[in-house]
Amino acid sequence: MRKIIPIFFLIPIFALSQSTSFDFHTPENVKKFADHLFCEGDYLRAIEQYELINQNLDNDTIEFKVMLGYSELGLYSKSNELIESCNYESVFYPDCYLLSLKNELILEKHEFEYPSIPSFDSSQWKSFGRLFAISMLYSDEPVVSKEEFFLIFEKDEQSAVSLLYDYRFEPPYKSPALAGILSAIIPGSGKMYAGEWGDGITALVVTSLFAFLAYDNFHADHTTRAWIFTGLGAFFYAGNIYGSVASAQIFNARIDFEFNNGLELFLKQQNYFLPQYDFCE
């Protein structure tokens, strides 16, 4: 009984310590809240909260999370500005570095040139190697042969990478000049060369018909009508040559668009070869 009585009296004291006034804005509570927002995917608010406390806590995880948050928000330049604040000695420095490569690839779309590389572990080396290799797809000429280029990628990535490599360095472009010349010789053939078979056949039929109608009316001495059809025929003929050149240019632009789109989609699916960071366990 004597042992129980002190415990009985200690309960309210314990309760008192638990129920002291609550401050929402202590650095610890702000950090807890920011972590929650980050895990919720509300990066903008999370960054705002982290920035409120970053100076007080001097925490490299927070610095990396802010950088990652900006990147997730699509503010790649802002994210890359923070690489300066990433401490070289920090365990997160290689991750900051890889993230900055991703941001740079999205922003600049050029081949990487790097004077200094941080100390990576094996998985970070793999990420770095693949990011570096994929950046070669933005150079004007192939830097390495296709076989060498392949080596760095996993087997399940190789078919997509092969297609992208071919699209970049051996694009199936059509010559606008050739399309124009073909249409000048046989109306519609330039369109067919640019892959627009339906338009090509229509152009051939319509131009031939107008030519025939013009010839037939001249032959029958209906000169007014003959000139109307000649004018229409000439309009279609010239329009077809112009249209064939434009079709070839559109075809080439589509190749470039498909390459850029395909590469972006592939990189997004691969998360730019970066590790999946889990701060929300």
Binding site: I5, F8, F9, P12, I13, A15, L16, S19, T20, S21, F22, D23, F24, N29, K32, F33, H36, L37, D42, R45, E48, Q49, V206, L209, L213, D216, N217, A220, R225
Partner: protein, 306 residues
């Protein structure tokens, strides 16, 4: 003021300053009094903590009232993260949803209205939260979903007294579905000459029928005249007369091939173009009228809007 007077029998005697009363507390009861005192202090601290939560809620609400919606969402989220009670959960989620709605973040708004509904304490709060979900669906033009939600409210016996409100928002759903006739019917179900019923009815009568425009275009140019595009109508008549004359003339002079070619490649092209053109004009004019009506409702209609 109470002061200790003297030692009494197995205890301490207390008396008031003016000696109006005095009492003796036995030693054995002193721990019990101390314990009671601690409980009072403890509960007052709890009240203090509650006050801070209330302050946080009021601060977030103030931001919302000042139309600082981004900050309001942050502060409501802060409150909801640290506070696990249910006094402020409904209102905080509702106001968070409304803030997101003001920022056109519709998915996030619906998510918080759904949370508000889950934390609602009575049937009126459920109704308000569901109506907000319906309004967001109206704004993001997922009107099918809004109608389904309104149907579920209408079929729920708990909301039989809310028929007018349900009809009112059903009318708005139809407005955003560009179905002005049904919108008018929904508002009329509240009151025969409801302001919005009259408005929708008048607009519905004012709209062109695309089908009629197409049918009138059997006579080239008539569809364009119906939609008020007189110049376009005259041009259409001109082209059809020209190519029609050349086609008929060719057939009359036994130049059948000429007639077929001009008839199919030119006359038919211009004739069918005239029909398509009349339909396009009717659709474009209707779009102008409905956009102007929506603009009017947005700027000048004073009652509840999505």
């Amino acid at each position: 003021m109470i002061k200790v007077l003297e030692i009494c029998y197995k205890g301490i005697r207390f008396s008031s300053l003016k000696n109006h009363f005095q009492f003796c507390i036995p030693y054995t009861f002193i721990p019990l009094y101390l314990y009671t005192l601690l409980l009072i202090i403890s509960s007052s601290a709890e009240i203090h903590s509650q006050t801070e939560i209330e302050e946080q809620f009021n601060y977030a609400k103030k931001l919302y009232d000042e139309e600082k919606y981004f900050d309001a969402v942050t502060e409501f989220k802060r409150l909801l993260f640290f506070y696990d009670g249910d006094i402020y959960s409904y209102e905080s989620n509702l106001l968070t949803g409304l803030s997101y709605k003001k920022g056109a973040k519709f998915s996030e708004a619906i998510q918080h209205f759904a949370l508000a509904e889950l934390n609602s304490k009575n049937i009126d709060e459920v109704f308000i939260a569901r109506l907000e979900i319906i309004k967001v669906n109206i704004l993001r033009r997922t009107t099918g979903r809004a109608l389904a939600l309104l149907d579920s409210l209408q079929n729920d016996s708990k909301f039989t007294g809310k028929a007018d409100e349900i009809n009112y928002w059903r009318g708005w759903v139809y407005i955003f579905s560009d179905d002005w006739e049904n919108a008018s019917l929904s508002f009329s179900a509240i009151q025969a000459n409801h302001q919005l019923a009259v408005f929708c009815d008048s607009l519905d009568n004012d709209l062109y029928s695309a089908q009629l425009a197409k049918a009138l275009s059997i006579i080239p140019g008539a569809g364009q005249f119906y939609t008020g595009e007189y110049v376009s109508g005259l041009i259409s008549i001109g082209w059809n007369v020209l190519w029609g004359y050349l086609t008929i003339n060719a057939f009359m002079e036994d130049r059948v091939f000429d007639g077929l070619m001009v008839g199919t490649l030119l006359w038919w092209r211009f004739y069918s173009g005239n029909i398509q053109n009349a339909e396009k004009f009717a659709i474009e004019k209707n779009l102008e009228k409905t956009n102007s009506a929506l603009r009017y409702l947005q700027n000048y209609y004073q009652d509840s809007k999505p």
